[in-house]
């Protein structure tokens, strides 16, 4: 049998840790807890977690500073924070965080984020070339997009954007990152290019472009490609 995935829950509030402990254990994760930056650093060394749920408001250090350290240790970082300013989210993502969840969160949402982060870790090892969402398939090797088995023609930028999101399926990808990797350096702030391409993708692939199921907009932060079965 596979060893259970270890999740480190970092939060200075015991109540939140208890809550996450309960939901994660129920989902068969092994859970380790830390209440401070100091404990986090030692837990990373000792327990070698695969995923860290990180609260930014820690008593001894700004959680943002921990992100690069945790990433360097090879774990995925999902920021769980009550700070909902978009700059904070973007800063965390720019520092290497894989995703974020705002408080108050839905435990299903947290589990979905963990799954997406884990999938990404695994996929980078096995390199699955086809990402699917509902009846949409994105073949990253053949550079083809099919909807209900029928090939859909996308412009190069639309395809680039979709492929970039598909590579991180289920996870939020920042505007800056998308613009840099699809449009190239120097275009990091041209958000409107991104909006145009996203609109094109929605029109061509969504059943109801006004209620998109494939691409989800995270206001001020980036886009997220929905995958598989979504929780309500």
């Amino acid at each position: 049998m596979r060893n259970p995935v270890t999740v480190l829950v970092v939060d200075d509030e015991p109540a939140i840790r208890r809550l996450l402990h309960a939901s994660l254990t129920r989902a068969d994760y092994r859970v380790v807890e830390a209440g401070s930056a100091r404990d986090t650093l030692s837990a990373i060394q000792i327990d070698k977690p695969e995923v860290v749920l990180l609260d930014l408001g820690l008593p001894d250090r700004d959680g943002l500073e921990l992100i690069p350290i945790i990433k360097a240790a090879g774990a995925a970082v999902i920021v769980v924070s009550a700070r909902d300013a978009t700059e904070q989210k973007v800063a965390a993502l720019d520092l290497g965080a894989d995703d974020y969840v705002s408080k108050p969160f839905d435990s299903e949402e947290v589990l979905a984020r963990i799954r997406a982060a884990m999938r990404h870790r695994l996929s980078s090892e096995t390199d699955s070339p086809i990402v699917s969402c509902g009846d949409i398939e994105i073949d990253l090797v053949a550079r083809l997009v099919r909807k209900g088995g029928v090939e859909v023609h996308l412009t190069p930028k639309e395809y680039g954007l979709l492929a970039e999101l598909a590579k991180s399926a289920g996870r939020v990808v920042t505007h800056t990152h998308l613009l840099k990797s699809v449009w190239g350096p120097g275009h990091e702030t041209d958000v409107e290019y991104l909006r145009v391409a996203a609109r094109g993708i929605r029109r061509k692939l969504e059943d109801d472009p006004s209620q998109p199921a494939l691409l989800r907009n995270e206001p001020g932060v980036g886009y997220r490609m929905q995958i598989g079965s979504q929780s309500s």
């Binding site: 109540a15 939140i16 809550l19 309960a22 009550a82 700070r83 978009t86 969160f105 472009p209 206001p219």
Partner: protein
Amino acid sequence: MNDQRPDPDALLRAAAREGKGRLKVFLGAAPGVGKTFEMLTDGAARRDAGIDVVIGVVETHGRRETEAKVHGFEIIPRKLIQYQGHALEEMDIDAILARKPGLVLVDELAHTNAAGSRHDKRYQDVEELLEAGIDVYSTLNIQHLESLNDLVASFTQVRVRETLPDRVIENADLEVVDILPDELIERLREGKVYVPDEASRALGHFFSKSNLSALRELALRRAAQAVDAQMLDYMRANAVDGIWAVGDRLVVAISEQPGAIELVRAAKRLADALRAPWTTVHIETPRSSVFDNAENTQLAETMHLAAQLGANVATVPAESVLNGLKRFAADARATQLIVGKSMRSRWFELRHGSIVDRLVRETPGLAVHVVPLEAQSSRASSRREAQTNPWGSVGGYVVSLGLTALITVLGMAIFARGNIANIGLLFLIPVMVAATRFGLRTGIVTGLASSLAYNFFFIPPTHTFTIEDPQNIITVLVLLGVAIVGSQLTARVREQALLAQASSAQNSSLAGFARQLTGISSTDELANVLCVEIGRLLEGNTILLIPDQDSLSVRASSPPGNTLEMLDDAAARWTLDNNKPAGRGSDTLTASEWLFYPVGSAGKVLAVFGLARSDARPPIRSDQMPLLLSLLDQAGLALGRIALEGEMSSLAHVQERDRLRHALLSSVSHDLRTPLTTILGSLKEIRAASPEQEHQLLATRSEAERLHRFVANLLDMVRIEAGALHQSIEPVDLADAVASAVQDLNAVLRDRPLTIDLPEDLPFVLVDPQLFHHCLINLIENAAKYGAPGASIRIVARRIGNDLTLSVEDEGPGIPEGQERRIFETFTRVEGSDRKGGTGLGLAIVKGFAEAMGLDVGAANRPDAKGATFSIRFGPAHIRELPEE
């Protein structure tokens, strides 16, 4: 073009720098301002930019933030120096040279190395590193700079032993690490400032606010100076258009005549054209002591004007204008000399020939400009004779002639013992005494008397005035000649000494005053010093008034408790309004007992200074006027500086308040959200564990969610009211924005049919995505709340003319007549529609956020009267058309 030629000196300096490392110095006013921290931060930035950065030596003094910064740098281990049984650690310069990094961080440039090191001083180590082509960052406190050492010691009473020659930082980049004195004192109290043992004794005094202000000013000035010099150097080296090819220096000679004002203006224009520094000089000759009131005023005004136009103002005592000018021009290394020439040719006391001719002849290499001036009235010409009595005092004659008689008697006594040929020399004594002590004419009279006495009593035939021996005629002539020459010489020396004394007294009171002002950090203190010092110097009553909104209030006076009559008040006010003197002795409101002067800087009157005397004499003697105006100029500058400091600290205050508010908001939002998260999460866990309770749990859950939204709204409202909305505007696709709002409101919209009608070719809107998201959520939630249960909601966007409107339509009772505007106010709920709980904050937040972004909001009943429409209107400024592709 000639003036496009690069300055060879500047080029040489630039060439000498090529291939060498650059030195950057982080300059601070005092220990503890954060120089090391700043250096490390900059170093880290360079390291991140790919430069090879190492630490040569950094003292963290156990400060945590600084220690954290050191991490990530390669540190060259220090070298142990054995000296008399002690092992001391110093920077290992050889190791650094061998390692050859791109940039090395070396703390405390002024440090003295342990005995036995290669160099005595650390800056010498640094110079070696620079020679090797390694860039160096270093830190320095301003009091270690050699040229400022004395000055700093004079007001701090602490003399630092470790000094640094100024040349070391002459070519360095300077960055001032600045912190308000209050903040530094606070840091000191919190123990965040490391203080070496030797200084701790004097600590309390050294870290006083006035000292810190003064040190800070010095640091800022020094940096400004360096920037100036480097910029000029660069411009000269590169022959940037408009910069003079060689460093011109202008000196303009001014006098007491009214035409001098014109001369100063002409000089200013020339200095501007040459972009050269300029100095006005007044040569104080013996004649200056007999200037009258008008002339003194004129001179003071000329100097004042020059100072305002940016000149250095100097006064130099000299026996003659010509010599004084020559000396001063040489000292100031002037290249251009400007003098005025009045039509009457009396401009510089031309007694023999033209002074201009002599200037040109005797100062090779100096360009002399002669500016013709209007002829002035000769009102003053005879006055000089009248003012001093050229004939000297009666007492002088009595003493001199008495002395002559005494010498005659003494001579007779000697003569009785035999004819001694040189007895005439004895008469030199009374002549010299008279000439040196009582002036020219007394000397000549005594000389005449002496020669007569000599002739009468000693020259054969004695007791007659006839002279037989021609040799004796010469003796008489010599006596007269000595009288004339001696008295002229000594009179001149005496007058010069008097002048020098007066001018040095004036200069020292000016310098003392300036030093006192440097350390002052409050207006009240300044007012007091100003009143007391000027009161003392000019022996009068003084008062300082400072405008306070509409009124002028007394800030200080000497003696304390001086009050003003209504008339005086009017004069003071006039001075304030017109930036000109008023009151007794001026041209305006002369009936006042007081004489008022404006005190200010940069053309702004910051205070009014008043002067009066208790006896009936005029408030100020004319010869004191230049001193007073100089003192007031200094005070004006200090006042300006204090005002600026005040503005800066109040700015800091506002920033501090904002920071607090921000901290409060984020802590409140954290503290409220954490329990809510726990409650909501726990409910979910319970439901998972016991699904049969789902029904009861649903109610609890929706209430908890409502509480959460309420908290979020409340926080948003506080942010709006506080004006603390941070925005980052970007193009947003309305389809994106609506979709994410709808997704976030999944729970609320569960049983509501929703229609979204957004045209496909809709342009983007320019908004802050987060604020706009909150607007949409509140609008849709409002529609869900006030619409009839189960009724549909429609979200529509339409272009109307140049505008774009996004509307949320509900199906329900609509808005009561006349409530369309009120509905957006805080805590307004539409009357009679309280079927659903709500705070009435939602729409207020929509309005607050929308207005913060510059958008209009509106509410109306639907034309078909089936419900209400809430809309956001985007003007052309908020619309971004789709880019052509």
